[in-house]
Symmetry: C2
Subunit: 373 residues, 2 copies
DNA sequence: CTCATCTACCCAAACGTTTGGGTAACGTTG
DNA sequence: CAACGTTACCCAAACGTTTGGGTAGATGAG
């Protein structure tokens, strides 16, 4: 123990005395008890034990007498029997494993969706695996292959690209999968209704008197980016607004990308917009940084709106207006959809409703001097 | 397809025509090719195929002739043979599965560590599982049991509490595990050297002329919180600074917690500190919010320092000074340590070096009127 | 030419389940 | 009391690997 005694003492650390691992055994120590063990102990056949343990408290059709069933269950719980999932998988040809693939788990949005998956899959007896693809097509393939090599029952794909034939290929190979967060028409998916989300933002900014706006649009290969932008543009124009293609800047989904896009918007010769819609909270934060660097105050000089309403948005020094998307629910829904697919159904895409939360970053009316009206 | 045609057309979406899944087959479609298939095709025994496929290009001791080995390998790759891991596990009693348990994956810090784990474990042929415990002791137990039921070879525990007997219990049950991010004396762990990190911050603030400081300390059950705070306090006092217990506010690790703690610090009757050290970037961001609500400007009126140097820190509107911890490396190191434990070794705790990045939030010298000198 | 040593394989058992197909024993019915 | 159902089980064969222990034939030494 090389602890600094001063604070170790101060703060009450104590050394329980190193671990005495023998490491000869499996992860769960001692002998693992098997069906056969239970059967021998009880003087019945392993198959009987198996059947009893699989029947929900009502004894399975003629599997065993109520009395035997009771004895079996009792001994099983007393000995802490836990079935070997690999053995069961081998026999049943189903692993109860779900593969989840995301661009990066360090994207808060995906992380929260994964929490939903974790929860929902545990509830239905599945375990989930996650892997990061960094949105790199080659890595996507590699990771998917890894998951299939592990014999997952199905995939939840959180990094779908609008282009690329990966999904068609998976379909051809009859791999059960659903999309999450990003959708691609024709495949089952659980997403936020991003078109509606974009529309909400357009209406809000229009109502606040903004007439000159810019969009930080995200990555063009992601439906989230495309849909949010499209929803915004459609609504904006249908309200009578004008916005040119130059006012739509594509960028990465992170803070750095948002800052860059913000700089680009401010650098363009055109009149400065009075509002910026970033299709992602982190991009919005980056844009806020760019605005501040230019001596502009967010919420007064320029309104900023983000998307996803991550936990950060409400707590920022200047709280950020954002479209709330039910991220955990999207994860949970994805699990339900993949279950359906595994049952052989062809579920419709699920689009969960977004909600706009207006906060200080866009709470003020558009500055008069620039507002057209 | 219930797409809004206007944008669907605009943006070039096209419907590849629903998937034609039959779902009679396993996840990877068609027949999965087995060792036996290869053997039959080649007129050799499955065991021969197995041995060949396991020997690294040099044919294993008398397993097969070079010619046969070549034929085996060729057919295997031609048919896309992929060994069934559950069958192998059943036989070898090792699953090549690692269980990872974290408080929440939506904590960016843990998410990045997990990315390191994902990478490193793939390299050594392991797959990792993550589950969230929400720092709830009961949930920790439940999730650990779930992972053990899946027969993981070992655990990486990212939510260790300084109190509670869970670790001792795991040791007794001879479950191989290592700690990550948070340490507990006496157990193998991969962490940032948080004591040093705290010291760096104390030195920095002292040098900038601050004499009245406060600490947002995090959760007292986490070594990260305790060590960073202790490192700070020790160094601060050894520099001649004074700081009372009231100036150390414990809080949750998120933005909301940081804001609350910030409010508490500002509300206390005592003279306002000129600097605040939050042991976590998100808590720091929350504190920045609280400061702004009180009409104070971060970096001018009050310095703020965070910890972990998450990707956000540098990109915030007011860039945040933060202690960089090598999060991905910590994850990778955890994987190495668990490998060692699985080999029967007893690895020493690894403490990775932190680095301080000074940014605008603490770049100015302490305001003169309050500085004591 | 015999005996020992390789070489290049094959054989079979085992890992822990699940599940289709028995079958004795018992009770009921006509 | 024969025929027929039930009940409460047992049996055995898989699932796809891995691995300790063969062995027939070729090669080499003496």
């Amino acid at each position: 123990m090389a602890l600094k005694q001063s604070w170790a003492a101060d703060l009450g650390y104590s050394d329980p005395g190193g671990q005495e691992m023998d490491m000869k055994e499996k992860a769960d120590g001692g002998r693992t008890v098997t069906l056969k063990d239970l059967a021998r102990e009880l003087g019945v056949h392993p198959s009987t034990v198996s059947r009893v343990l699989h029947s929900g408290s009502d004894v399975a059709k003629g599997a065993a007498s109520a009395a035997t069933a009771e004895r079996v269950r009792e001994l099983a719980s007393k000995l802490g029997y836990s079935p070997d999932p690999q053995a069961a998988s081998l026999r049943t040809r189903r692993t109860k494993l779900l593969g989840v693939i995301v661009p990066r788990l360090s994207d808060l949005v995906l992380a929260i969706m994964y929490e939903g998956i974790d929860e929902a899959s545990a509830e239905v007896g599945y375990s989930a695996f996650v892997m990061n693809s960094r949105d790199d097509p080659e890595e996507q393939r590699r990771k998917i292959d890894l998951m299939l090599a592990r014999r997952v029952d199905g995939l939840i794909i959180g990094d779908a690209h609008l282009d690329g034939g990966l999904l068609q290929e998976l379909t051809d190979r009859k791999v059960p999968f659903v999309l999450m967060n990003r959708r691609v028409p024709g495949y089952p998916s659980a997403t936020c209704d991003d078109v509606v989300g974009g529309e909400l933002v357009a209406s809000h900014l229009w109502e606040m008197g903004h007439r000159q706006v810019a969009v930080i649009a995200g990555e063009p290969y992601a439906s989230t980016a495309v849909d949010r932008t499209a929803g915004f543009l459609d609504r904006w124009r249908s309200l009578g607004g004008t916005i040119s293609d130059d006012d739509v800047v594509w960028s990465s989904f992170d803070t750095a990308g948002g800052r860059e896009a913000g700089e680009k918007i401010l650098a363009s010769g055109k009149p400065r917009p009075t509002a910026i819609f970033a299709v992602n909270d982190f991009a919005a934060i980056g844009a806020m940084g760019a605005l501040r660097s230019h001596g502009l105050t967010v919420g007064r000089d320029v309104a900023v709106v983000g998307y996803n309403d991550t936990s950060l948005a409400a707590e920022l020094p200047i709280p950020l207006t954002s479209v709330h998307s039910p991220m955990a629910d999207i994860g949970r829904t994805a699990v339900q959809l993949i279950q359906a697919v595994l049952r052989g159904e062809k579920p419709e895409p699920a689009r969960l409703e977004p909600t706009l939360y207006v906060r200080e970053s866009s709470a003020a009316r558009a500055p008069a001097e620039v507002s057209a009206t």
